[in-house]
């Protein structure tokens, strides 16, 4: 039972990690945005 729980959790974490990395890679490929030069930030 413990092995099964650990295996399921491991697979879940691996899937989440893969998803996170892929999403991160996609996000970093987005077009650059021209932003105001002197702003503190935006909401």
């Amino acid at each position: 039972m413990r092995i099964a729980i650990a295996a399921v959790t491991g697979v879940l974490l691996a899937a989440l990690a893969s998803f996170g990395v892929v999403h991160l890679a996609n996000a970093s490929q987005s077009d650059p945005v021209i932003k105001p030069l002197y702003n503190y930030g935006s909401r």
Binding site: M1, R2, I3, I5, A6, T9, G10, L13, L16, A17, F19, G20, V21, H23, L24, N26, A27, S28, K35, P36, L37, Y38, N39, Y40, G41, S42, R43
Partner: protein
């Protein structure tokens, strides 16, 4: 495992997390991100101590890094401070978990050091505030025993990082310290714990007194500032918490995110799948905390977390009320950037997560404990490797060093005006990333910048009296040389828009162009008239510093220099 070894392993885990988070940011150079500006060879100036009339938000953190910079040159001071944040956060949170096993403690430490709160504040450059955040678990433990023998000293030691961090760090630490001190003492009064020598109000008074004394450097210069403490109600909307997950502002705050600045959100954060998983982890941790944590500080910390959560949401959901409060008393402006008050909630979630991991290990084996260690990292992968490349060290251009040499060699007194007339920059040599203008810390002289802050379409007015005086002159189209000299300005430095065609340069007729480079152009203005700042008097400020340094020394002198408090959870 013995106590010291436990702390050591947790600290080492924090160091690994810090290295993983900063990644390429640890290379030689300086990380410039929003409010985080470190410079080579920093020097002590009147600004360092809050004696130029600006609001002393950088006191005493600037003095600390200036002193540290003398020992650790070349950007090492910055790396040391940032790594220390991860080490302290992990070790502190791990020490609070009432569990025998090491893995659940480490899981709590990992979650506390690796979460959206840390990521967003790090990207926003709030390293001084994060110092206080990192030591918050120790403050919580020490506050529960503040009326015990040496309790105030222990609280003082725990407060040192927040005291160095300054105003914002002390505000959040104060919230937690007062709630825990008051509630823990009340608990003992009701006979729910071992009897002690003080009541609720005595504990609160001791905690408040300690907090006030540790706040003296910025408290004195802020109070004695001739132009008072500014508080623009218009900034409430700009700094209110915002949604960065699909769960709205409240849900985002619950997940320890929700910072006001959309540009400080980690890359890819808030996607539905990871957000749902994060929500499950946070809710399960909170439930476990409520059901299983029965330490002396548990209820006080819960009160602090609940209060902090309400304060965090205040600006977003009750903006008119907060604006009215700031109109009535500008001190309420501390509630504008409310998201920072979710720090005590982060402690609660981390401890609950540690207890949850401990229970899961009991039920399903040690493997789950190991997996719990990586859950926070898996749920926020974009904090890794310099926040996915957003923290990248740079070197200051050669033109900056030349300008500093020229200014240091000049015996004529006078200020420097930084142009273009704006607070923040997107330097091309910093990959166009937003950062505070670095000239005030770099040049070693009083640098007047427009400290008006632009957020989207909103502008928060300047706070520096000298900047307000110069505002109309600089924004006009007329000549600059004469008015700047009359205001006590010796140099005008352009660290952006350095193209010779910049019309502002044509307004400096009569000034000598002493540095001319692609990254910085410096004009020397002849015959500046002495123009002292409207600042807090130096003598009370020096006394405040003397008391502050003496107090910190006193906290460390009588006993071993350790932050492992007697109120840390005792194991059966």
């Amino acid at each position: 495992m013995k106590g010291r070894t436990r702390h050591g392993v947790a600290a080492l885990t924090g160091l690994v997390l810090g290295v993983l988070a900063l990644g390429p940011g640890l290379a030689p150079g300086y990380l410039l991100s929003f409010d985080m500006v470190f410079v080579p060879d920093p020097s002590f100036t009147r600004m360092t101590f809050g004696l130029t009339g600006t609001v002393p938000r950088h006191v005493p953190s600037d003095a600390f890094v200036t002193a540290l910079g003398a020992v650790l040159p070349g950007g090492l001071a910055q790396k040391a401070v940032l790594l220390a944040i991860f080490v302290m956060a992990c070790a502190g949170a791990a020490s609070l978990v009432p569990a025998r096993r090491l893995a659940p403690r480490l899981a709590a430490g990992v979650l506390y050091a690796w979460n959206p709160f840390v990521a967003e504040r790090l990207l926003l450059g709030h390293w001084a505030f994060l110092l206080g955040y990192a030591a918050l678990p120790w403050v919580v433990a020490a506050s529960a025993g503040v009326v015990e023998r040496h309790g105030a000293r222990r609280l003082g030691r725990a407060l040192v990082p927040a005291a160095i961090g300054g105003f914002a760090a002390m505000a959040v630490s104060g919230l937690a310290a007062l709630a825990v001190a008051g509630w823990s003492a009340g608990r003992h009064e009701r006979g729910e714990g071992p009897a002690r020598g003080g009541g609720r109000w005595r504990a609160v008074a001791w905690a408040a007194g300690t907090l006030a004394l540790f706040s003296l450097p910025w408290l004195v210069t802020g109070w004695l500032r001739p132009s008072g403490m500014p508080g623009d109600p218009g900034a409430v909307d700009a700094f209110a918490a915002r949604a960065d997950t699909p769960f709205g502002t409240l849900g985002s705050l619950l997940l320890l995110g929700g910072v006001w600045n959309a540009e400080a959100v980690p890359t890819g954060y808030g996607v539905p799948l990871l957000a749902v998983c994060s929500l499950v982890v946070v809710v399960a941790s909170l439930v476990m905390y409520a059901r299983a944590v029965r330490t002396p500080w548990a209820r006080g910390l819960a009160v602090a977390a609940g209060t902090g959560f309400v304060l965090a949401a205040f600006g977003a959901y009750a903006a008119p009320l907060l604006k009215g409060m700031i109109d009535a008393w500008s001190g309420f402006a501390v509630l504008r950037d409310g998201q920072q008050y979710t720090a005590p909630l982060a402690v609660v979630v981390a401890v609950g997560f540690g207890v949850l991991a401990d229970r899961l290990m009991s039920a399903a084996g040690a493997a789950l404990g190991v997996l719990a260690l990586v859950v926070p990292v898996v749920l926020l992968p974009s904090l890794a490797w310099g926040a996915a490349g957003r923290l990248e060290p740079v070197q200051y251009p050669a033109g900056w060093a030349r300008a500093r040499e020229v200014i240091r060699a000049d015996r004529v007194a006078g200020d420097v005006v930084a142009l273009p007339w704006a607070t923040y920059r997107s330097y091309p040599w910093n990959h166009r990333r937003t950062s505070l203008d670095a000239l005030p810390r770099y040049l070693g002289r009083r640098v007047v910048t427009s400290d008006a802050v632009v957020i989207g379409a909103a502008t928060i007015p300047a706070e520096d009296p000298k900047a307000r005086r110069l505002d109309a002159v600089i924004k006009s189209a007329g000549p600059l040389t004469g008015p700047l000299a009359a205001a006590g300005v010796r140099y005008a430095a352009f660290d952006a828009e350095t193209d010779p065609g910049n019309p502002a340069m044509a307004r400096l007729a009569g000034a000598e162009r002493v540095v001319d480079g692609p990254d910085l152009v410096l004009y020397r203005i002849p015959d500046p008239v002495a123009g002292p700042d409207q600042a807090a008097p130096a003598v009370p400020a020096a006394l405040a510093w003397a008391v502050w340094i003496g107090l910190i020394s006193w906290c460390f002198l009588p006993s071993r220099t350790t932050l492992a408090t007697r109120t840390s959870p005792r194991l059966p």
